[in-house]
């Protein structure tokens, strides 16, 4: 019983996956470089978050083979997960506000 994923993977060497692995490793290294830069915490967070998203995307798409699954499944997983994750972000304004009172007290 062969899935669509297998059909595509067969014949291809390990080279592609080694490249993915090296990419992820390089991006992980990049995180450490960013950590030693002299920038504000929010700038640092933004850069690190973007890099982490790319890393995670590579891992999900290639190591977890989501890219070679049916498009319907890829959409189901991504749309479902990301929409719920986005809805989780409502609370942030409250976290900032507690520190600087929204700029009303200093």
């Amino acid at each position: 019983m062969a899935t669509a994923a297998q059909h595509k993977n067969e014949g291809k060497g390990i080279g592609k996956y080694l490249a993915v692995y090296l990419c992820i490793l390089a991006l992980a290294g990049l995180q450490f470089v960013i950590a030693y830069q002299n920038i504000t915490a929010s700038q640092m967070f933004r850069r690190m978050f973007s890099v982490a998203i790319v890393e995670a995307g590579l891992a999900v798409m290639f190591f977890m083979h989501l890219w070679s699954e049916k498009r319907g499944f890829l959409l189901f997983v991504l749309v479902f997960t990301i929409s719920v994750l986005l809805a989780m972000q409502y609370g942030w304004t409250d976290s900032f506000r507690l520190v600087n009172c929204g700029g009303y007290c200093s």
């Binding site: 019983m1 899935t3 479902f80 929409s83 719920v84 809805a87 989780m88 409502y90 609370g91 304004t93 409250d94 976290s95 506000r97 507690l98 929204g102």
Partner: protein, 594 residues
């Protein structure tokens, strides 16, 4: 193609012996009945708690005989202390929301009928299914056990707002061990429901028989599928929140406790947490949860109404789309529970808008029921009456939602009985009516015997009128500024409202007693009811193609083949005005939406 599908995992041999058959059973039907039994026990416990509260609210100085047996410290001389009132309120809310409104329409009916409606022999992971029930059962035992430890259960309300819930025994009786048991129970409950949701989604997607395309699934199956998608993500957020709460209680962390907090004249040793964080995490679960309670009811009510009015809904697809839209929006509106929490006022705006938007699919659903009912010859029986009752409750309670969705009005009404009336009608009683409709409708299939229709109708009218008598006055009380969560009304401006409270109390007791008619009907019919034919309601979906009650593998070692959309009523066929999904008979239908 097939050996990779769930065939391999779904097969298990029929069980031998009492324990395997009835207690640690892998059979989805037995597990469904176990869930139903758990919900039945829980609903009567919750109802008795509400009686005690109502009696206290109506006659504050009334000694309730035997109350000291429930709690020695909470009711000295059978007189309720204010703390004990709050403990009862917390337990009433927790038991009802988690162990009744989530387990009965979703876990109980879903377990029993989802696999049959898709034509499967069982769920793909029967062991997970069994674990799901027993973990939920354990959660219930842990919750109930808090009545019997130390100074009783927690008094923090079912929402368990921090910091009251996170600082320990200093904040009141039951706030130490009681909260720990509460949070443990809810974390366990989350695990149980996650296991259930995994099974429900995989059953719906992978175990459908030949011909059962997604659009041919009955609306109940769709409702359970959508609900389990919500449950999968919502419970996964509540579980870590409960664990962080337990850490705050036992490990000295202060996730949810701000610094320099003084409670009962004692400075708390905590530092730097955020009380709003708990509310954000809790309501991120909490709002999808109310739809987890109500969406299965929508499915059941549609299913029951369609069968009894002998015509499909105006549009099958729009109904499914609306339930899906409600599920998606449910994650974006959770902050409307927090308008008065001190949340950023700009977030209130951002939550208010989707809250008003979510009324659109809800309204479409209601209009679809009413539009389909218009001009139909509805068969009146206990099931269809309760389905109509659901529609009525949902509309009556939903209308007050328009008020509460707007922050400027909600600020006035939030801490009053208006909110209590609103959510009891739209979510609690409506979902309970959905459970009743499902019970009267499916009881013949579940047990092989018919329920008594006359008793069912009496039960309906008493419940229906009683519910309006209880919860409609709540709205008036709220507009008259009657604050909620108070154990007694001693302020001058509340004195004129006490007769209303007494009226509500009497109505609650009468309505509650009426539920024993249902209990009698349920037990009596289970053993002595008239034997049920295979398809007593002349319905079309697959559960009515099985023998009654369904054998261990549902279809007797065979797989049905599906030829039709789920609701082929009002056609001319050899069986009458309907054709079953698994019947190959070709009929001319006006309802095909292809």
């Amino acid at each position: 193609m097939h050996d990779m599908s769930a065939h391999a995992v779904s097969h298990h041999a029929p069980p031998q012996g009492f324990i395997r058959k009835h207690i640690f059973s892998l059979d989805h039907k037995v597990i469904g009945k176990q869930y139903y039994g758990l919900a039945l026990v829980a609903v009567f416990v919750g109802m008795v708690l509400s009686w005690i509260m109502r009696l206290h609210l109506g006659w504050t100085n009334l000694a309730i005989p035997g109350l000291h047996l429930l709690s020695k410290n909470g009711a000295p001389g059978n007189l309720m202390t204010p703390e004990y009132y709050l403990q009862l309120m917390t337990m009433h809310g927790t038991i009802m929301v988690f162990f009744v409104l989530t387990t009965a329409p979703f876990a109980a009916f879903g377990n029993f009928f989802l696999p049959i409606q898709v034509g499967a022999e069982d769920m793909p992971f029967p062991r997970f299914n069994m674990m799901s029930f027993w973990v939920t059962f354990l959660a219930f035992v842990v919750l109930i056990s808090s009545f019997f430890v130390g100074d009783g259960p927690t008094l923090g309300g079912w929402t368990q707002y921090a910091p009251l819930s996170a600082v320990g025994a200093v904040s009141g009786p039951g706030q130490g061990l009681g909260v720990i048991l509460w949070a443990t129970s809810i974390a366990l409950f989350c695990v149980g429901q996650l296991l259930g949701a995994l099974n429900f989604i995989t059953t719906t997607l992978d175990l459908r028989v030949k011909g059962m395309s997604l659009m041919r699934l009955p609306l109940t199956a769709w409702a359970w599928f959508i609900t389990s998608c919500m449950g999968l993500t919502a419970f996964a957020v509540l579980m870590p929140a409960c664990i962080l709460l337990i850490l705050d209680q036992v490990a000295g962390t202060s996730f949810f406790v701000p610094s320099n907090l003084v409670i009962n004249d004692q400075l708390q040793p905590h530092s730097g947490g955020s009380t709003l964080l708990w509310q954000h995490l809790f309501w991120f679960f909490g709002h999808p949860e109310v739809y987890i309670a109500i969406v299965p009811g929508m499915g059941i009510v549609s299913h029951v109404l369609i069968t009894n009015m002998r015509r499909p809904l105006l549009s099958h697809r729009v109904m499914i789309g609306c339930m899906g839209a409600i599920a998606v929006l449910s994650y974006m509106v959770y902050g409307h529970h927090m308008f008065v929490s001190g949340m950023n006022p700009f977030s209130s705006l951002a939550f208010s808008f989707p809250t008003l938007v979510i009324t659109i699919p809800a309204t479409i659903i209601v209009l679809m029921w009413i539009g389909s009912l218009y001009g139909s010859k509805l068969r009146i029986n206990a099931a269809s009456l309760f389905a109509l009752g659901f529609v009525s409750m949902f509309v009556s309670g939903g209308v007050s939602g328009f008020f509460l969705a707007q922050p400027s009005i909600d600020i006035m009404l939030h801490a009053t009985y208006f909110v209590v009336g609103h959510f009891h009608m739209v979510m609690a009683v409506a979902a309970i009516f959905g459970i009743f409709a499902g019970t009267y409708f499916w009881f013949p299939k579940m047990t092989g015997r018919m329920m008594n229709e006359t008793l069912g109708k009496v039960h309906f009218w008493l419940s229906f009128v009683g519910t309006y008598c209880i919860f409609m006055p709540f709205h008036y009380l709220g507009i008259a500024a009657n604050v909620r969560r108070y154990q007694a009304f001693v302020d001058d401006y509340l004195q004129p409202l006490i007769p209303v409270h007494r009226f509500i109390t009497v109505a609650a007791i009468i309505t509650g007693v009426a539920q024993f008619i249902f209990l009698y009907n349920l037990i009596h019919s289970r053993f002595l009811g008239k034997l049920a034919p295979d398809n007593p309601w002349e319905a079309t979906s697959l559960e009515w193609s099985t023998p009654t009650p369904p054998p261990f593998d549902n279809f007797g070692g065979k797989h049905p083949v599906v030829y039709h959309d789920p609701y082929q009523y009002g056609v001319t066929s050899s069986t009458g005005d309907y054709v079953m999904q698994a019947s190959p008979e070709q009929v001319v239908s006006e309802h095909d939406e292809k």
